[in-house]
Subunit: 512 residues, 2 copies
Amino acid sequence: MAKDRPKRPRAETPKGFRDYFGAEVRARAAMLARITEVYHAWGFEPLETSAVETVEALGKFLPDVDRPNQGVFAWQDEDDTWLALRYDLTAPLARVYAQHRAALPIPYRPYQVGPVWRDEKPGPGRFRQFYQCDADIVGAATVAADAEICAMLGEALEAAGIARGDYRIRVNNRKILDGVLETAGLYNGNDPEKYRKERGIVLRAIDKFDRVGEDGVRALLGAGRRDDSGDFTAGANLSEEQIARVLAFFSASSTKNIYDQDGVIDTVASGGILHTDQTFNLLSTLIETSLIGVSGLQEVRDMLALVGDSGVVFDTSVVRGLGYYTGPVFEAELTFEVLDDAGRPRQFGSVAGGGRYDDLVKRFTGETVPATGISVGVDRLLAALGEKGRLTARQPKLVVVTVMDRERMADYQKMAAELRHDLRDISVRAEVYLGGGGMGRQLKYADQRGAAIAVIQGADEHARDAVQLKDLALGARLAAEIETHEAWRAQPAQVEVPRGRLVAEVRAMLAR
Amino acid sequence: MAKDRPKRPRAETPKGFRDYFGAEVRARAAMLARITEVYHAWGFEPLETSAVETVEALGKFLPDVDRPNQGVFAWQDEDDTWLALRYDLTAPLARVYAQHRAALPIPYRPYQVGPVWRDEKPGPGRFRQFYQCDADIVGAATVAADAEICAMLGEALEAAGIARGDYRIRVNNRKILDGVLETAGLYNGNDPEKYRKERGIVLRAIDKFDRVGEDGVRALLGAGRRDDSGDFTAGANLSEEQIARVLAFFSASSTKNIYDQDGVIDTVASGGILHTDQTFNLLSTLIETSLIGVSGLQEVRDMLALVGDSGVVFDTSVVRGLGYYTGPVFEAELTFEVLDDAGRPRQFGSVAGGGRYDDLVKRFTGETVPATGISVGVDRLLAALGEKGRLTARQPKLVVVTVMDRERMADYQKMAAELRHDLRDISVRAEVYLGGGGMGRQLKYADQRGAAIAVIQGADEHARDAVQLKDLALGARLAAEIETHEAWRAQPAQVEVPRGRLVAEVRAMLAR
């Protein structure tokens, strides 16, 4: 702030960050209220964790680690502890449960809403701060908990405004993939840490199918992939036969198209054949006698039996990118079509994801604590509701009291207070114009604000103990052209009423 | 996650951070909904800024700068830009307005709710992440805007549950102090930057009165102050006469006790004499012919005339610690008494503060943009409501469906779904028990969760197509003692009803 400071600060959010305004904030709050009301009705309790965690508590589970500090925003505290902004709501929940477990019920059923931060490359529609809305069950070992999470997710999406039939909850189980990898020589039940790195690359490769396509996945499973910008991502170095097994798993019950060696769409992957005996048979062949694979298949069967016909489908192409999932994984996708930037129709895609993460609390306590949960991508879902025209945050009607005589501010404030108070039953909002300028500028302001009515009392009206009411919806087109109070009075969208009738006449005008 | 990792991460929030659970999260959300409903009714629109800003955009306005990076959490981005977590909601608003002003109405009336972060020494009840709830008017130059902010703040406090009479909104004006300092030779209207540092120390010294007392303030105005821990804070190096003038200003209309040279309470500071002619006369004497001082006094007179008898009082001991205020400053304090840690009664104290900051947008644009606003300390106000027993977040009634036969999870889930759906009109929550263990553990869980009713259906009841309903409020005392289903059935707080009557009987039981 020194007088001779050479340059001004730039008025910009940091790269990849944004602000949210007015209607969008209210629409999001309304959507989240509907979703969390469902969570709450299902017996979940709110939790809000600190946004800042120690780096050691967060752990390193983010995929796409092309940044320092593993994709998180981190800095050193005074005592040299590394602190970081949370990158999701699940890792902090594991810390919370380990820290407070003596006081928490078992199972513990929290729900959370809040921003998370990731130090990723910003891009169009890709921000470094975004909202998540999670529900988790900690301390429940059976797939009944996973099934409940999926069923509740469906109900939450419907409460938010997504019709049944417009969404699909795709479930899979990482244990099946582990079984496939066991038969391929990449998993050893007696030493699960062996080949963990390779299996991580396999997971992330499958998870990237939508972005990199089949060829990209093949490259990532093999020697690695160089993207358009020239960046190279190391591959899992699998053999051709191992790659074939992974892709056979991927396409066993997938909504994605996988081509066989001859470039023909694999019939199994045609989309019509989901969680049928045929799929289970194929997977049984792939996992052979792998115990973990058999267990995973059984868990999927049990989950599907529990959820019934609630929009949940088995889809082996779902694996999720995060490193901490141990069994069932789920993803909710919206199936209606929107137009992409090039005007081509495409499915809206994923709006929520989750799964079971039985080892995440164990990191802290040494004891296995089973846990499962779901995370709704709030901004994505809000965008989807926007596409469907289902953003219903009601805009209560606004009245702007204009200021013709600055000496009588107290009178104008009294009008606004009366309107707010006496029309509270119909959620009327009222404000006095506090800026500078004459009638034209004040009406322009009221118009820009989307006000329904402007109240005007100049010296003449004051002498008659009256006010003018301008119906702005009617008069919006003319407002910009009119500069003087006198010209304004000639317009049809206005009416003069006694001051004592102000509230009653505004009520009547808004009811029209 | 390597198998041979030598030690586990500690399950702890970083120092000075905390988590919020269940009822507290809901109580805060309910309180904020009531406050923001008032803001909205007054014509304010929601705004949510990025939590992360560039350090240069935030500026350096925090008082008590005893930390690196001026008390903010900061780190360097990939491109070497310094980023930081916002320390309040006002500095980001100035950035937002400068960035988006072409699209925003003038005046712009945003309200904001969100966490802010300060890298301060943590202490009891002093956290490094806390919530604020702000309302601001940008682009309104007159004190009508400041008066409106103060009047609305009173209404918001009352909506939150603070009765009129239990709060006081203390207003002052920094221009008066500048006037006093001008006659003391520490302000020059032609060169406002001169002595800015000294005036900053004076402001922070006055702001610390409650913590350091009169002697502490005298020391800070003079040669400096060494606190109990041995830390030294540099003083403003004012002369005795200058110090006397500052203290005369402070006590001209203060609710704090100031002692004169002989150790006698200054009569003017006795508390009974607020915004009277006597106070204005005394201040007129102190500011002599200072133009800025006269202007400040007039602004206070105008504000007081506009707010009427709405709990707003003139109090020269209010200056606010933040560096960016330029004129009117306000502080809402709760006047009811609570017991401090030592069991002594004390006033609850400040829960909100704000003021006018006409130069904050100018930092970015070079043009003066008048602005004023208020920030509610959400955690403090929530604590106050707790003290007053006015936390009213209703806990809808919870029903826990116990699991006697794991093969029939789908049946139990159907019961919970029926209860949720058919009793939605009375906000019933229902969940199936998903943990392990027998009846004793399940009832203990239901008890810990505060459930109203437990539903039980073992093989016997299933054969009879019936369910048992346990009234947990009635039976809570006994629950811990009972281990078997049979013993439980002997208790009086249970009733068997036909399965088809489940919903109706739960409704009746909850209505009792």
